[in-house]
């Protein structure tokens, strides 16, 4: 029983990082109605940024995280102008395809540069021993940092001008333009913010697990599941959804082979999409 509990707690810790990845996806989706299919590439970007900078400068992984934020933001803005800007307001298929095209290009360059080899960022952090089980220090740190980032994001969105501008554009783009908000710049920075969240979550995942250039796909799919659970455009829901997904994984892995967890995740994904289109948490908490 206590083994199950330990698994669940660990699942919640890791799940919070999935939640942060999904926060980036859901932010972009909520603000400009674009599903970013290059999300996975951005996560991998964060992983490799951490790896390369750690190797080059020899700094501790956690000290490099702020640079992942900056790199992610820059990449997001560039991606916005190249692939997304002209697709705003057009049929949804167009932005799906353009972001997917960007994903193909990025992953293609990635595999050309680094192949499909496994990479690992060695991080040594003492774990926490509780009742015979050790919770990895990296997992605890990742969850703590995710909480920190979530709080910072909340404060940013609620109490700063740029944050309020993003919320205004998300609410009603035309009205925002009429009151003088430079919507294109705001959209670009919102995309950058979403990309930064993806990059940082990738960097955190890199501290916990080994990765390849192709790992982004799996985490992108998890992000979709989490976003759908939490309701699109709802960053708090995304965090909760991530924790819920982590909890589910923790619950399931002691009982069946690891490969079955993906089946359960995807079936859950489809069921939630069809039965709760506004997200499971919107349904449960009855928000409008």
């Amino acid at each position: 029983m206590s083994g199950l509990l330990a698994s669940i707690v660990d699942g919640i810790l890791v799940g919070s990082v999935y939640g942060m990845a999904a926060m980036g996806l859901t932010l972009i989706w909520g603000v400009m109605d674009v599903i970013n299919l290059s999300h996975g590439a951005l996560i991998v970007g964060g992983m490799f940024a951490l790896y390369l900078i750690a190797a080059a400068l020899g700094l501790s992984a956690y000290a490099i995280l702020p640079s992942a934020v900056v790199i992610g933001f820059g990449a997001g803005v560039v991606l916005y102008w190249l692939a997304v800007h002209r697709m705003i307001g057009r049929a949804p298929l167009m932005s799906l395809l353009s972001t997917f095209a960007a994903n193909l290009v990025l992953i293609g360059i990635g595999t050309a540069l680094w192949g499909t080899v496994l990479f690992n960022v060695p991080v040594s952090l003492p774990g926490l021993r509780l009742g015979g089980y050790t919770f990895p220090g990296t997992h605890l740190m990742a969850a703590a940092l995710t909480g920190f980032v979530a709080v910072v994001l909340y404060l940013f969105m609620q109490h700063t001008r740029p944050g309020k501008a993003i919320r205004a554009v998300a609410g009603n783009r035309v009205a925002a333009e009429l009151v003088g908000i430079p919507t294109r710049r705001v959209l670009a920075s919102a995309f950058g913010l979403g990309a930064a969240l993806a990059c940082v979550s990738g960097a955190l995942i890199a501290t916990m697990f080994p990765f390849t250039v192709l790992s982004g796909d799996a985490y992108q799919l998890k992000s979709f599941v989490v976003t759908v659970l939490g309701g699109l455009g709802n960053p708090a829901g995304a965090l909760l959804g991530g924790v819920a997904l982590g909890l589910l994984e923790g619950l399931v892995t002691p009982f069946m082979p690891v490969s079955w967890t993906s089946v359960i995740e995807f079936v859950l994904f489809i069921i939630v999409l069809v039965a709760f289109p506004r997200g499971l948490f919107n349904f449960v908490f009855r928000r409008s």
Partner: protein, 325 residues
Amino acid sequence: MAALDILRRPFFWVIVTATAAFAIVPVTTGDVELREGLVLAAIYIVLASNLNLMIGYAGYVNFGSIVFFGLGGYIGVYLISSLHWHPLAASVAAGVVVSALAMLLGLGILRLRGPYFALATIGVNEAVQAFVSNFTPWGGASGIYISIDSFRSLGGPGPALWVIYFILVAIMGVSLLLAYGIKISKFGLGLLAIGQNEDAAAVLGVPTPLYKAAIYGISAFLPAMAGCFYFFKSAFIQPVDAFDLGLSVEAIVMIMLGGQGTVSGVALGAFFYEELRGWLLTSESFAHFQLVVSGALLLLIVTFAPSGLMGWIHRRWPATRRLLE
């Protein structure tokens, strides 16, 4: 008789001629390499053409259409290798089962609009792939190998490849004719109406849930049959190849390249894309860049030429509109 009106349309004969050319040219030249190249082109045309029924006609973007191909492949290969069915019977059975499953699934997910539907189809493909990877009667993650004996029903391994080639070309021809036939029928008119504005179509009396489920099921049938023959021909099937989401998206690129909603455009798009892909994979400098080139191409098409090759041809030479629909 109204059904035979199609014989009077010039495009019908264009399709028949093209299919005949596919069948005859490799035979007369005896060129096996050409046959292998054309068989891949034929399969791509089948995939793209049937996907176009969903994307170009009904306006529902199926991102995971490869699941029909893969599942049809698995059912067909299993029937042939374990239960010793004849390949033709196996492929028809695969087509029927996958179509029926698609219609059933469609009842659930076709309620979703736009990007939600696209995501759901990705979810379906991943769920089926994850399931098959764990399903031991179908070989799990290692897949199923087909023994040489299974080819005896078609005359042995050598002749079997030719027979399979002709069958796949026939499936390609049927796909194109099906797409054209639907386009000029009342059913097709209803689908196009759904694609333009689903709610208005429903208000005007188009039975939208029925039509959507029907076209989703129809779009699964021929790819499932093609999948059965493709994997039978390869004598090996495994989940990673059968449910390759990348191939699904390449089918979408082919459709966009050629011009969504048109029959000839999609076929041409599939053909050119297959040639491009083959050239990229074998050229020295571009081998690793195949995905990059595909991605860049897709981005350019979506940004600057969303109506594709046929869109441009139809605008430039309006006379082709009747000839190459």
